[in-house]
Symmetry: C2
Subunit: 340 residues, 2 copies
């Protein structure tokens, strides 16, 4: 006869939670299945099986190592879900399914894991996409930092866009004020309090992308402004497309408290990570329509921040408020480690 083994519920993550045995099963049944309830996950297969029709597929992955795990405006969990939804959106793809792989440090409070998983559930519901498959590993104490999460996503491409489609004459739209995510993280990490609380901008971007693309604007490329910020994103695309770019300092939205915090911390908002902002490259003729569509789709503070030029290829130029021009280079060192 099978002798039931007593299950010791614990308030901390144990190595055995990652061992593939009884405690792993308990974690799945007690935490993950209820949080992410969906048919693919409930099948308890080795992976999720689903139909995805209507266009080519987009497939993306991101590891999240943000420190701290919980910060003003979000957690590592919603950051991971939104980040992957946004990478799909930047491919013009409607998100269809996400995966989540957890690397947990032995001793992590179970309460922290539950809070993070709860915020993933909320973010997935908000974005309308199931967390369809997952994995959990546990490493011994001191061999990780609380938890790391890697999310991957599959989507169906509804609007084909690509860095290769960017051409001189395109306008560069920025979807909203820059820098809040990076400043929010840094303020917690460094224990700095600002007069105005600054919350991360983490948010899903698919609805804004759909609104933009449905407007009839001729959209060539989309890029979220994460690690390395607007400056790195523009440099990457300028290099990939073999074009130059010019942006106007006055047209780049940065909220006053973020600007003040950046000045205090010695940061350039152009390089600070955002987790709910993107740049869109649209034809010059459809720039106004695109701006209107973005604003109607929830990006009320979107701007036309600059334009694509022929030369110098691979270079991004900033026109300053006082009329100067300077090269905005790719981020060279590490500005803010573990920002996402």
């Amino acid at each position: 006869m099978q002798c039931p083994v007593p299950v010791h519920r614990t308030d901390r993550v144990l190595l055995a939670h990652g061992g593939g045995g009884r405690l792993t099963q308990e974690l799945i049944e007690r935490l993950f299945l209820p949080a992410f309830a969906n048919p693919a996950l409930a099948a308890r297969h080795d992976g999720a099986v689903f139909e995805a029709q209507g266009g080519p597929l987009a497939f993306t992955t991101d590891a999240f190592v943000v420190d701290p795990l919980v910060f003003p405006g979000g957690t590592i969990g919603d950051l991971a879900v939104n980040g992957t939804v946004n990478d799909l959106a930047m491919c013009g793809a409607r998100p269809v399914a996400l995966s989540a792989a957890f690397i947990l440090e032995e001793g992590l409070p179970m309460e922290t894991l539950e809070r993070v998983v709860g915020s993933m559930r909320d973010a997935a519901l908000r974005a309308g996409v199931p967390v369809a498959t997952g994995d959990t590993k546990v490493v011994d104490r001191g061999k990780a930092d609380g938890m790391f999460i890697t999310t991957s996503g599959v989507g169906v491409v509804e609007y084909p866009v690509s860095p290769a489609m960017v051409r001189p004459g395109d306008r560069i739209l920025v979807s909203g004020p820059l820098g809040a995510h990076g400043v929010a993280i840094l303020s917690v990490r460094e224990g700095i309090e600002f007069e105005t609380a600054i919350a991360s901008d983490t948010a899903p971007l698919w609805d804004a992308v759909r609104g933009l693309c449905e407007s009839g604007a001729e959209v060539h490329c989309l890029r979220d402004l994460t690690r390395g910020g607007l400056a790195s994103a523009l440099n990457e695309i300028a290099a990939a497309a073999g074009v130059g770019m010019e942006i106007g300092e006055a047209a780049i939205p940065v909220e006053a408290p973020v600007r003040a915090a950046c000045e205090l911390l010695g940061l350039d908002p152009l390089y600070v990570a955002n987790e709910g902002r993107f740049a869109a490259f649209v034809s010059g003729a459809s720039a106004d329509r695109a701006l209107e569509a973005l604003r109607a789709a929830g990006c009320e503070e979107a701007t036309i921040a600059g334009e694509v030029v022929e030369s110098p290829a691979g270079t991004v130029i900033l026109r300053s408020r006082i009329g100067g021009r300077r090269v905005v280079d790719m981020l060279s060192g590490e500005q803010l480690p573990r920002i996402c």
Copy 2:
């Protein structure tokens, strides 16, 4: 004019390699793009875009935290590629695209990263699947353990199988000798040398699955025998399908050196992790044909190890060599942490 910033090649991973700036780009261009050369990756988009037609999709993810990073028969890199290929294969799915997300510890020798990436390239070539998208993060020294890799995979389901299809009368095939992976890892970790070197069994399983399914055998379910080994896999499926199982000790292949090592180390081969072995559930009538097909597809030492019974539901029984019967329970604690 743009002033070229000197790029300092280093022999260690720096925080800035994960910062999204110049060093991240250099890592991508110098290491990842050449290793995984494929059109999706070369597009430098936020994700991979590809066509996948012919059936429903399978989607899977796994985090790899194996210690040590390099061991007899493999590295964390081929383990990750094979593991994800195999999770797809266990869904009856032909692998179409993989993703790889790296979490690196600051100070990791660049040589180690290169070796691991090289073994991923080789494993991906062997399995015939591109690593189509990826991500790299770096955490400060002491906040990870060298490197962790999370791979995800997308496949097209060619042979629909599922735990729910398992029924009484099915035969349980085991694709080859058990326990080599776990013993190989443990022997390095504990500094034990055996008379016969034991190498990990890490290998891709899609060709074996295809051979089995093409044979005309009626295949109901497939499961790889990773963390928790054969015992945990059978328990999971018995619980999911609401059936019992009986396996014969004499019919479960374990090579003599592995058996001896397990005895020495106090391990039960039924619970030891494998990274290139699976169980197949096939109808009783097609068991012989299935065995023949498996053997023809490279699993020369496959056996019919047992059968599915009606009751007691959710329970796995082992018939020992000397005629006794005992319950093989799910792994209860943690036998071998960080085995994959």
